[in-house]
Amino acid sequence: MISLAGRDILHGWGKFVLTGVGLGLLIGVTLSMAGVYRGMIDDAQALLDNSGADLWVVQKDTLGPYAEPSSLNEDTERPIRAMAGVDRAAGVTYLTMQIAHRGKDVRVMVVGAEVTQPGEPGQPPYLMAGRRIVQGHYEAVADVKTGFAIGDQVKVRRNTYRIVGLTSRMVSSGGDPMLFLSLKDAQEAQFEKDADAIVRQRARTASSPALNPPGNPAVAEAVNAAQASSTNVNAVLVTVAPSADADAVAAAIRRWQRVTVYTRAQMEEILVDKMIANSARQIGMFLVILAIVSAAIVAFIIYTMTIGKIREIAVLKLIGTRNRTIAGMILQQALGLGLIGFAVGKIAATFWAPFFPKYVLLLPADSVRGFFAVMAICALASLLAIHAALKVDPAEAIGG
């Protein structure tokens, strides 16, 4: 027996392949949408992974540092460092801001981390180019997505920083690329006001009798000094010694330091379940609709292909072709279309994924799932066409 489906495809292969490519682009969009969804979740995971922390110590009763503002004194880390089970602890600051670079604004998350020793929590775990920050000040490591290049000078608040290294996949939970500074620089960037604000603040201090009592000018100076300096951090990242239990260490810190401590699992819950849940659901909804639309389009394509062959099907039936053979032909064509579509879609999605502004993660497992979904959808979609083909009366082939 010859393969009727194969012969039919061969006969009009150009049309068939083009239809498959068209379908493939649609599947590519669907896969990309899944990739966008995975990318969002992965952004949140990457934020946690790249921080290198096991525990997040934040201001008491806040969901900080990513979901809520949190502020701690920098020296909070010192007693924590001394606690049993704690391997390392380092303060870290996060600040999302806009940076003007070559005439356009780049939205970045400025991260202040301990940079002097490799492997401190909070610093980028690997570099794609350049070097680590060596000088304690005015050097920065940027995520490649910022578009900064090594040697670029970027201005953060009042200081200019030189990009000395590039890293990748360092993003905030919102997908903003990170710019790493030394902790002190970042504190300055975060808590320092612009010059105008400082001058106005000084004027306010000077006009307040409580802060500037007559006859004692030293008070105002002290107040100004106190306002200008800050040694706060947003969180202290803690790594736990290999033998210690993270939950137990977290409980100890919570009890003795009177701060809020989150473990990795809790942080993931905050980021994934609380912060990006809605946008993820939005994308998920869109994904479902796209899948349905794709399925409908496959169904229509296969139905149209079949209806175009209705006379041949009638002749085939009249000369004794079995229903099974005809249904098999339609099903094979649908699956063939699905195969081409999936391949084209996967390739297309892979090639256009890097051009998305935010991270698109195409998981192999998703591709496999997508493959079976496409095949199932094609098989289902062909049912409509098979139904139509089986309804064809062989008598139609005979005139009259």
């Binding site: 012969r7 006969h11 490799p118 690997y126 570099l127 680590r132 060596v134 304690g136 000040h137 490649v144």
Partner: protein
């Protein structure tokens, strides 16, 4: 023969298209996404002389700052200098309004005159009492003789004796009176001298030659004791109060050369040296403080300007070195991913000093010519598949 001959060309085309698609799919599946090999760049361990450098920031400060103000509360009467003016040692900078000081000096002078008059009166009383005593003494002596001769009654003799005692007492009283008057005169004189001294202190005098940098009160302002009215610095003596990160400040010492970049002149670095390392570090900011002096001949910057200071520490001998981007920490081990027969292996290292270009001394763990991973597009593990490329990204 599944495919008939006339269709073979058609079939061939379709097969080519499908094969291309399958190849591309395979490529895409293996070369992108999580299954793709990690792109890395490698570097060879080489010998290099490391010149560690220390980077700090600080502000330009004057070495001596004189904040000059009155020692007693008062109102500023006049200011002789303005910001930016140069002053000489001993020059009057400002005068504080004396208010009633002159009147008090006049009053003190008046009371001194009265004391002198009182003293003179007391002296003449002493002379008078002495004369009276002499008279009483001679009359008493004559009375004794007359009594012995019987020429005088006993009662008359007692009278003369009593007169002598009274004259003695009168003299003692006059003498006491006189010494009191002398003391009073000394007190009023001192009082006047004190007021005059105070008047002299109301003139604010420059203790040394310098530049007026701040004028903190205007005439008419009432100032408290110790409040500065004028600030003077010596512009020839500026230094930088620099702060260095404690973790790297190991080798810092007085005398080390420093390169100073001023905010306003970032293209023309100045030369200087560490003058002294402060014995007390800042415990809050975890920084070591040091004073950095400018070398002679440099045009000096405004006080308070931000400066970046790079201190060159003594160069180490040529040793094995690596760029710091290659260094990672796994658990408690610091090391690098080394390429051993095409496989990745994490090698723990003992590291030394680091220079300002990011080269780190390798003290132990690697040999010259060893290949280590420098940059990678993703984090590495021992089981990562890698492709070596020339350049990332």
């Amino acid at each position: 023969m599944r495919i008939a001959l006339p269709q073979s060309r058609r079939a061939l085309l379709l097969v080519i298209v499908l094969a291309a698609l399958v190849l591309l799919l395979g490529f895409v599946a293996l070369r992108s996404g999580p299954l793709a090999p990690v792109k890395v760049t490698v570097v060879q361990v080489e010998e290099r002389a490391i010149t560690p450098a220390l980077f700090g920031i600080g502000t330009v400060e004057a070495r001596f700052t004189h904040r000059i103000g009155p020692t007693a509360p008062g109102r500023v009467a006049s200011l002789a200098v303005d910001v930016g003016e140069r002053v000489e040692a001993g020059q009057v900078l400002a005068v504080i309004d004396p208010i009633d000081l002159d009147q008090r000096i006049a009053a003190a002078s008046g009371s001194a005159g009265r004391s002198a008059a009182l003293e003179a009166a007391a002296a003449s009383q002493v002379a008078d009492a002495s004369a009276r005593l002499a008279l009483a003494r001679s009359e008493a002596a004559r009375g004794e003789e007359l009594f012995r001769g019987g020429w005088l009654t006993r009662a008359a003799l007692d009278q003369r004796r009593q007169a002598l005692a009274a004259a003695e007492a009168a003299l003692a009283a006059a003498q006491a009176n006189r010494s009191a008057a002398v003391q009073d005169r000394g007190r009023t004189g001192a009082e006047r001298a004190a007021l005059q001294e105070q008047k002299a202190n109301l003139r604010l005098i420059a203790p040394r030659a310098g530049l007026v940098v701040r004028r903190l009160a205007e005439p008419g302002t009432t100032v408290v004791a110790g409040q500065a009215v004028v600030e003077i610095v010596d512009p020839a003596e500026l230094w930088i109060n620099a702060r260095f990160d404690q973790t790297r400040a190991g080798g810092i010492a007085a005398g080390l050369p420093a390169r100073i970049v001023l905010r306003s002149r970032s293209d023309t670095p100045l030369r200087g040296a560490i003058l002294r390392v402060e014995p007390v570090a800042d415990a809050v900011t975890e920084e070591v403080l040091a004073k950095v002096s400018f070398d002679a001949g440099a045009a000096l910057p405004p006080i308070g300007e931000l400066a970046e200071v790079t201190v060159g520490l003594p160069a180490r001998e040529r040793t094995l070195a690596l760029p710091n981007a290659a260094i990672h920490r796994i658990g408690s081990a610091v090391g690098v991913w080394a390429m051993r027969d095409g496989d990745l292996e994490f090698v723990s290292l003992k590291l030394g000093a680091e220079d300002s270009d990011g080269w780190v001394q390798v003290l132990d763990g690697l040999a010259r010519g060893d290949q280590v991973i420098l940059h990678s597009a993703r984090p590495l593990t021992a089981s990562s598949r890698i492709t070596v490329v020339d350049k990332l990204p």
